[in-house]
Symmetry: none
Subunit: 409 residues, 2 copies
């Protein structure tokens, strides 16, 4: 048996999206409708009713991991997502290259949206690792001004505030302990020393001297935020004995996939934007399923369009996803495959951000008891046979594949 | 955006209520049916299936507060409901003025349902506060024989039994510790000393001498029951950043509303009985919403009729609520308002008390994906798109208003 989970980020919407219809209702989706007609449909609350999910907490919950137990912040997943090794107990941060004045007044949170030379800056920052004998300090630059910082050692805590003040024109006061605890105090001190040291290492770096010459803002400091601690999570392989792959572009989604033990496969032309090549993602997944049992495919575009409040772009992108689903349906062995399709949350057009509204879900395959739903959207799914579920899509999907351990005898 | 929650106390019923119909089915409710047709419907288990709720625990759960965490007894909410200031750690009791003989045999639990003079008796009882240096003793008379007692100090416990024996003809043995713990022992001793001292202060009080002269039973003691401790609860404002008001008459409902940080608004003619003026409550709510984001309206009458096992009265009262809903619907801005209507529990006629049966719920407003339900009652709600929810009506309602913090990123 094979299992496929396709998550269309930010898929769900509201009647206010487009002339009284949700984008999903307004889009022409013959393939999704066919999938709905072949399967069991329902309503997914990514976490539970009355909770407005982030993409990270929603994905964990959909994969069957209680975010209230396993989520301590985004840093861990970003670190995994940019390919770093993360060990249990590591404290992970998202960072920005930023521009400060000599007196540490913040001038630009993104160092003029620096695009090039960050690898060289990262190399200079490898010296940070010499600051402490008993704490490893690992920094990696990722895309543009973004990066990840890991602290590894004993007696560290993730309960510290953001060093990034999130606004310009103010002096950087550094991270502060959020609890009255020696570990948190020490971690805040380390982070604040790293910030000072990063300024010392970066301010006269050739890349920055070059930038100044061109009138660009120097990337002369790193500002960590979103401290989180890596908690032990059992992998899908440990839990279900299966081999899984993930086709995803964004660092966060790659990070979550790595955290649950999926192997990452890259698809050509998968940009994470509206111009992404959805069909190529499906091809890579189908190819990967020759060796693997489970494929997770993450498609970002619909969420991005909705964050931009662009209903027509979201509708077009949903139609592109529909083509991808058509390709998938044409290329799987229906007698041996279960497919789940849903979103990780809703992103209504007028709100332009994640909402607490649930999203429709369909699961199709040979072991599914079909319901009478014939269309795939927020309204038709209300009558689906799956009813309302809270997260846990992967365990439900794997149940149809007979991959669950028996609980009891 | 504005949000309105209308709770009709004891709304739900059973087919045994009235000729094979529930009272809600038997009643003519064109406005509720219209509200159902405009919205998403479902079934609310006030706490969860298989739990028979009190009005207090049900309301907490509906407001999104886990009663297993935040509910320690009714006293706290009664104290808040009669307008007292309650601090974290305060031990609160409901009390009755009662009549005892000199040997402390209980003659009447309600002092002949005393109606007048209780304010003077309260004034005499202010002397109780002199009993201990380190424990504040605050008493307030409320309606008829009822009152509230607060103990404030260190090393107190709510884990003591009722001093009220709940039957006449027996000697009052006083409160007993429910756990083997110095705090509980001490609190029981304090309560028992208060009972004795109240007798000393009240037995020859002019009000009682007057009552005796008229052949009425003297209110010569107070009997505390339902010890509970005030736990810190985050307010709706702290949780969601909104300003809310409550239009409620009963002390318990006012108390719960104050506990979650709502401002209390009184409606003229709101009696808490079947003769209450529902329309006036709606008017006060709509007026209040000019300054506030959220209005909670509590309507008691249906529950009282059902406790009296009077199906026809309950049906008539539901029709009165329906008129109120009509007024509300005529006077809100539909593009900017979400309305939730439900009950806090069922009170079936034949049982005459709260049952574990769920209650129908509807939420209407611009961001709601409508289902196909066209009537509002226990049976039609079974097919609603909201499915079955356990409490948490306020977080779900606020989700439609985009007032929830994102959990994760």
């Amino acid at each position: 048996m094979k299992a496929i989970l396709v998550i269309a980020d930010g898929l769900g919407g509201r009647p206010t999206d487009f002339n009284g219809k949700t984008c999903l209702e307004a889009a022409s989706t013959p393939n999704l409708d066919e999938l709905a007609g072949k399967g069991i449909n329902g309503i997914l609350y990514p976490i539970r009713p009355g909770v407005r999910p982030g993409s990270d907490t929603a994905h964990l919950s959909i994969f069957g991991y209680d975010p209230y137990k396993f989520y301590t912040g985004r840093g861990v997943f970003e670190a995994l997502g940019v390919g770093m090794e993360v060990k249990e107990g590591d404290i992970c941060f998202r960072t920005n290259f930023a521009t400060i004045k000599e007196d540490f007044t913040l001038l630009d949170r993104r160092a003029g949206r620096i695009k090039e030379g960050t690898k060289e800056l990262e190399n200079a920052l490898h010296k940070l690792d010499e600051l402490y004998k008993d704490v490893r300090i690992i920094f990696k630059a990722s895309v543009e001004h973004r990066g990840v910082l890991i602290l590894r050692g004993r007696n560290l805590s993730h309960q510290i505030s953001d060093a990034d003040p999130h606004k310009t024109g103010v002096k950087i006061e550094g991270a502060k302990p959020l609890v009255d605890d020696d570990k948190a105090k020490r971690t805040a001190e380390i982070v604040n020393r790293i910030i000072k040291e990063s300024y010392r290492l970066l301010k006269d770096h050739p890349i920055n001297l070059e930038r100044k010459k061109k009138g660009a803002l120097p990337a002369n400091v790193i500002l960590p935020r979103g401290a989180s601690i890596k908690i032990k999570m059992p992998s899908l392989k440990e839990l279900y004995g299966i081999k899984g792959i993930a086709v995803a572009g964004g660092a966060l989604y790659i990070g979550i996939a790595r955290a649950v033990g999926l192997e990452i496969r890259k698809a050509e032309g998968a940009t994470g934007r509206a111009d992404t090549n959805v069909i190529n993602k499906m091809k890579v997944a189908i190819e990967g399923l020759k060796q693997a049992d489970f494929a997770f495919i993450h498609i970002k575009g619909a969420d991005s369009c909705a964050h931009d409040r662009d209903a027509e772009a979201k509708i077009r992108f949903i139609e592109k996803i529909d083509e991808g689903i058509g390709y998938l349906m044409d290329n799987v062995d229906w007698g041996e495959t279960h497919i789940a399709f849903t979103g990780d949350h809703s992103t209504p057009i007028a709100f332009g951000d994640h909402s607490a509204d649930p999203v429709p879900i369909v699961i199709s395959g040979p072991n599914v008891v079909k319901d009478e739903v014939k269309e795939f959207n927020e309204r038709s799914a209300l009558k689906g046979g799956l009813g309302k579920i809270n997260g846990n899509v992967v365990p439900i999907l794997f149940g149809y594949c007979d991959w669950l351990e028996k609980y009891g005898t």
